[in-house]
């Protein structure tokens, strides 16, 4: 079985990745996932094994339909797998019931969606506190105010989502994802609906939360410049991991994509 992490190149930057890769926050082993049956069957994941180190920012890239979202959903306990297992923070989630999975998502996972998905009836602050409220727990006020300050949302707390710009909404969604200090934050195309400036703000925050707070983040993206914010990029094609790139830059990502575009026919499209 090919190890998904290639030997780390020696450089000054490496410390950031290597030290924290010692413990895996999320580990997938031999994941298979197929939809439909018979002739119409689509195999979205073929024997995917990958580990995401604690405190690391990983981007998942690949052409449309390559299985990025499916992988993320399986990792997050939102989708079931046909074969293989997923481990989050030491808990094997494969085969858990709905109740246990719900609790796991509530306590150990944060989500950032492409469509922001804020509750329109709640204020920004209430949206940030939503996961804690659902759990019936009290959020750590010091931590919450730190996130809010970092995201520069102090002035917006009492606003309803409809009164916020897209970038502001996504920043609220980021704060919500981090509010419970989850084991891992999954973000599916978090900048897909944002302009360049807002994208930058969100990505810088994600980067910062990894650097400053040791947050683990797994982000699906189409955008090479977004991927460049990550510590590592995992490339998917046809339900399989085809490349694993450390310390990416926008250029190296584009190069890599070109590289396997030649091998795998692609419906190359932008987000």
């Amino acid at each position: 079985m090919p190890l998904s992490t290639p030997p780390a190149p020696q450089s000054v930057q490496q410390s950031r990745g290597l030290q924290q890769r010692s413990r895996a926050a999320v580990t997938a082993t031999g994941l298979w996932r197929a939809y439909g049956s018979g002739e119409a069957q689509v195999v979205a994941l073929r024997d995917v094994s990958v580990a995401f180190a604690s405190g690391q920012f990983t981007a998942i890239m690949g052409p449309s339909g390559s299985g990025k979202s499916t992988l993320m959903h399986c990792l997050a306990g939102l989708d079931t797998t046909d074969r293989g297992s997923v481990d989050i923070g030491g808990t094997v989630i494969t085969g858990l019931g709905d109740k246990a999975l719900t609790k796991l998502r509530r306590d150990k996972i944060g989500f950032i969606f492409q469509q922001f998905n804020l509750l329109p009836t709640l204020t920004a602050e209430e949206n940030i506190l939503l996961p804690a409220s659902i759990a019936g727990a009290k959020a750590d006020p010091a931590w919450i105010s730190q996130i809010i300050r970092t995201l520069d949302l102090q002035e917006r707390l009492s606003h309803k989502p409809t009164e916020l710009s897209g970038g502001q909404q996504q920043r609220v969604a980021c704060a919500r994802a981090l509010a419970t200090r989850p084991e891992v934050v999954f973000a599916d195309e978090p900048t897909g609906n944002l302009d360049t400036r807002s994208s930058g703000e969100v990505l810088r925050f994600l980067r910062k939360s990894v650097d400053d707070f040791g947050q683990t983040i797994v982000m699906v993206t189409h955008d090479p410049s977004a991927a460049a914010y990550a510590d590592r990029v995992v490339f998917l094609a046809d339900g399989q991991i085809v490349r694993d790139l450390d310390r990416p830059t926008a250029d190296s990502v584009i190069d890599t994509m070109r590289g396997f575009e030649n091998r795998v026919p692609l419906a190359g499209e932008a987000a």
Binding site: L78, D79, T102, R105, R106, F113, Q115, L119, L122, I134
Partner: protein, 848 residues
């Protein structure tokens, strides 16, 4: 167009089915009301036609001029009978002697209660009687009784029954026969009957005069009924009236039509309310359906469909829905009407067989209303949909709710106008009591409509406030916010319940206030703790032997006991209500009466007392003379007015010395008041007085509570009856809430998916939807209760001068309505909550 509409409908089966249920109910009630009215009418007509069947002309006494209780029965005299029999063209004359009597059952009390037993002569031709046991009466000491009487009295063949009338003492008769009526019936419309010999019937009914209640004249062959009637007219003279059987029957039919019309109108009212409420529901459903199809409509418009085509396609859908629902409703209504007719005919009317009538008008009305209402209700959303510009609808984004300014402004104006009308009516600024009452009623109606329009505006603060109930729970908090999210939709949904609850609360409040006013009145105005009376409503006045009064006075803890005699006398040429008693001062005291002028002492034989307004009516004062002739009196007596009483409903009327009781129509006292010592055990005294009344079949002792309960029993029935209305409103409300919630859940799929993704449990999701549902239902109920209480209060105030001077809140019922609202919310939440809990997270959040 129709095919497209059908296809669209198939995709929304469940919601449309739910919605159409409201139309079905409306159509069904209308059809049922009309079928019931027609069928009962037909059944009653058939019964009426049996009366005097076979005779051609009827001779009956001229109905006596209304004298309150129509005291003395007039009959057709024996001379008239002889003259009729002697008229050419008369073949035979059947004689009927009939009147109300009292008969005592095996429990020692009068049989029948509210309706008295009828006496008839066995030879009577008014009805066919079929002997079931024994034979007809042959001697004056023998009777045959109807099966219903035997049943009610607990008496049978060979046993003895005691009967008496106003003019006779109690007489024992031997039951020699038990009979029924054609068609196996036990009674005529539920009445009990005893058949005597003609002579004995005359003794009971006409005080022994040789007189008759009716002559059934059979014409000789070849004689026309009209000609015979005309010929009999001069023979009979002014004493009696002559009618052909046809005319008689037509009159009876017209009379019963009035009554059945009343029942029918009641049901029609229910139907119209159901229809009214369903307009909201249908409009809401179509708005919802259209909202879900904006894209589709926009596409149609973009590829060239005109506005009118959009409207037409939606109306086509409404037409199909309305037609199906109306047909089903009409069928259900006809079946229900038939069933109800059978039930009523068999219980109340004891009709034996039922004639079912389905008038074409019933079918047309039910269909037209069902279809019309549906199409009309769909019109507004359809026109609105057609106005949506194609581009706008193509956008996926959820648009903000349309502003509710217009309807709020109009609603405020209507509410204020209604309030003003009510205020004018209540402050008697409209000139005339009728105008005041009408003003108040119209104002109340306007307020009702106005507030209905204001529901959307009211929903924000009210739903928020109600929602605080659930704030302890996060899922509840979300549910509350969701309920407040779309004021327009919440309002329309809640209106269904609000309308029903308003109507029942207003009615229940008014009836409760009437009841409380009566209770209050008795508690305050009447010092006596016990009454000795017969049934509150009876055709025959109950009376008793005054000798029992001494026994009652002898009972421990009885401070005073006074009996009262009543008569309607002729005083100075006017009909007046006259009382007498052996203790004039006592009775005035026990009824809390007051003297305006004159002494409180007992009245001398030539003295009379009267209340102020009656004295004013005749223009007499203290010392003036009046002439009074009592019902059984043969001459007028001269009296001097000795005392004037302050007006007081309980003591109003004229008072004379007890010596005149013998000239009263009822020579025995009809009521007594018993004053019990303070602190005594009222129940024990009641029982002791009842013992003293053991030999008096017509009356019993009742304390305030029992008396008031009996007087107000009608209100209890009325209150129960209007709760049926609430039941109907609840069914419709459940449908409305389900509709709205399903739509909300569908609209919020992505939100639900997100919530589930970030850790909301299924249980929390279910709770969230339940709270939304219950909050909407409670909102409707609370609004309805508030408006209903307001309207009830206004009506009570408008009627305050008529004696409804206490405002009483039906607390238990209101608690019941709130509970019902919670139930509506819970029931309505079942399907949407299940759906929400099953939300497919991936499907909901995966958005490409």
């Amino acid at each position: 167009m129709f095919r497209a509409a059908l296809k669209g409908m198939a995709a929304r089966k469940a919601r449309l089915a739910l919605t159409s249920l409201a139309v079905v109910l409306g159509s069904a009630f209308i059809a049922a009301a009309l079928v019931l009215t027609a069928s009962i009418q037909a059944t009653v007509d058939e019964l009426n036609a049996e009366s005097f069947a076979g005779s051609d002309v009827l001779v009956q006494p001229v109905a006596p001029e209304s004298r309150g209780d129509s005291l003395v029965q007039q009959g057709v005299s024996a001379e008239t009978l002889a003259a009729v029999e002697g008229t050419a063209g008369v073949e035979r004359v059947g004689i009927t002697v009939a009147g109300a009597i009292n008969a005592i059952g095996d429990n020692g009390k009068v049989v029948g209660g509210l309706s008295p037993t009828m006496a008839a002569n066995w030879a009577d031709e008014a009805h066919d009687r079929e002997l079931r046991e024994g034979r007809g009466p042959e001697g004056d000491g023998e009777v045959a009784v109807s099966a219903k009487f035997a049943d009610d009295a607990g008496l049978g063949l060979g046993e003895s029954v005691t009967a008496y009338s106003q003019t006779t003492g109690q007489t024992a008769y031997e039951i020699v026969g038990v009979y029924g009526y054609p068609g196996g019936r036990d009674s005529l419309g539920g009445a009990t009957e005893i058949a005597f010999t003609t002579a004995e019937a005359q003794r009971l009914v006409f005080d022994g005069d040789d007189a008759y209640s009716a002559l059934a004249v059979h014409a000789a062959d070849g004689t026309d009924a009209d000609d015979l009637a005309a010929a009999l007219e001069p023979v009979v003279g002014s004493e009696s009236q002559v009618r052909t059987w046809e005319d008689y029957n037509a009159e009876a039919t017209a009379q019963s039509a009035e009554l059945t019309g009343l029942v029918g109108n009641f049901l029609l009212g229910f139907g119209l309310i159901a229809v009214f409420v369903s307009v909201f529901l249908i409009a809401n459903t179509f708005s919802i359906v259209i909202a879900g199809r904006l894209k589709e409509i926009a596409t149609m418009r973009a590829i060239g469909a005109g506005r009118s085509q959009v409207v037409r396609s939606i109306l086509a859908e409404a037409l199909i829905l309305g037609a199906i629902a109306a047909v089903v409703g009409t069928a259900v209504g006809i079946a229900g009407g038939a069933g109800l007719t059978a039930a009523i005919a068999n219980s109340f009317l004891d009709a034996g067989q039922v004639s079912l009538a389905v008038p074409v008008s019933a079918v047309i009305a039910a269909l037209a209303v069902g279809i019309g209402v549906t199409v009309l209700a769909a019109l507004v959303p359809a026109v609105r949909a057609s106005k949506v510009p194609p581009v706008e609808a193509m956008r996926a984004a959820v648009k903000a709710d349309r502003p509710i300014t217009v309807i709020t402004v109009v609603g405020t104006i209507v509410t204020l106008a209604g309030g003003a009308a009510m205020a004018l009516g209540l402050t008697h600024n409209l000139g005339g009591d009728k105008a005041a009452l009408a003003g108040t009623a119209v104002g109340a109606g306007l307020v009702f409509v106005g507030v209905t329009m204001l529901t959307a505006w009211l929903s924000k603060p009210l739903v928020g406030a109600l929602g605080r109930l659930w704030s302890w729970n996060f899922a509840g908090k979300l549910g509350r916010r969701n309920a407040a999210r779309n004021p327009r939709r919440t309002a329309v949904t809640a209106s269904a319940l609000m309308i029903g609850v308003t109507l029942v609360t207003a009615t229940a409040t008014l009836l409760t206030s009437v009841k409380a006013s009566i209770e209050d009145y008795f508690g305050e105005a009447v010092k006596a703790e016990l009454f000795v009376t017969g049934p509150a409503v009876s055709e025959l006045p109950a009376s008793f032997d005054p000798a029992v009064m001494d026994d009652i006075r002898a009972i421990d803890d009885v401070d005073a006991a006074v009996e009262i005699y009543y008569d309607i006398a002729d005083i100075d040429g006017t009909e007046q209500y006259v009382n007498t008693t052996t203790d004039f001062g006592g009775i005035i005291d026990l009824f809390s009466g007051e003297f305006a002028e004159g002494g409180t002492g007992e009245l001398a034989d030539d003295e009379i007392a009267v209340n102020q307004s009656a004295a004013d009516q005749l223009g007499v004062g203290i010392g003036d003379a009046v002439a009074a002739e009592f019902t059984r009196g043969t001459e007028a007596h001269e009296f001097t007015v000795a005392a004037i009483l302050v007006d007081n409903e309980n003591t109003d009327g004229w008072y004379v010395a007890p010596v005149y009781a013998d000239e009263f129509y009822t020579v025995k006292p009809m009521m007594a008041l018993v004053d019990v010592s303070d602190g005594a055990d009222i129940d024990a005294v009641t029982a002791a007085v009842d013992d003293a009344l053991a030999g008096e079949p017509e009356v019993s002792a009742q304390n305030h509570e029992a008396f008031v309960a009996e007087v107000t029993v009608f209100f209890d029935f009325a209150i129960i009856a209007i709760q049926l209305l609430l039941g109907l409103a609840m069914i419709v409300a459940v449908i409305g809430v389900v509709n709205t919630l399903i739509l909300s859940v569908l609209e919020r799929t992505r939100e639900l998916g997100m919530l589930r993704a970030i850790g909301m449990t299924r249980g929390q999701t279910v709770r969230m939807v339940i709270v939304e549902s219950v909050t909407i239902a409670l909102f409707g109920a609370v609004l309805g209760i508030a408006v209903g209480l307001g309207l009830g209060w206004a009506l009570q105030n408008a009627l305050a001068d008529s004696g409804v001077d206490v405002f009483a809140v039906p607390t238990a019922l209101i608690a019941g309505y709130l509970a019902a609202a919670v139930l509506v919310g819970l029931l309505a939440a079942i399907a949407p909550a299940t759906r929400a809990a099953k939300t497919n997270i991936l499907g909901a959040i995966a958005y490409e």
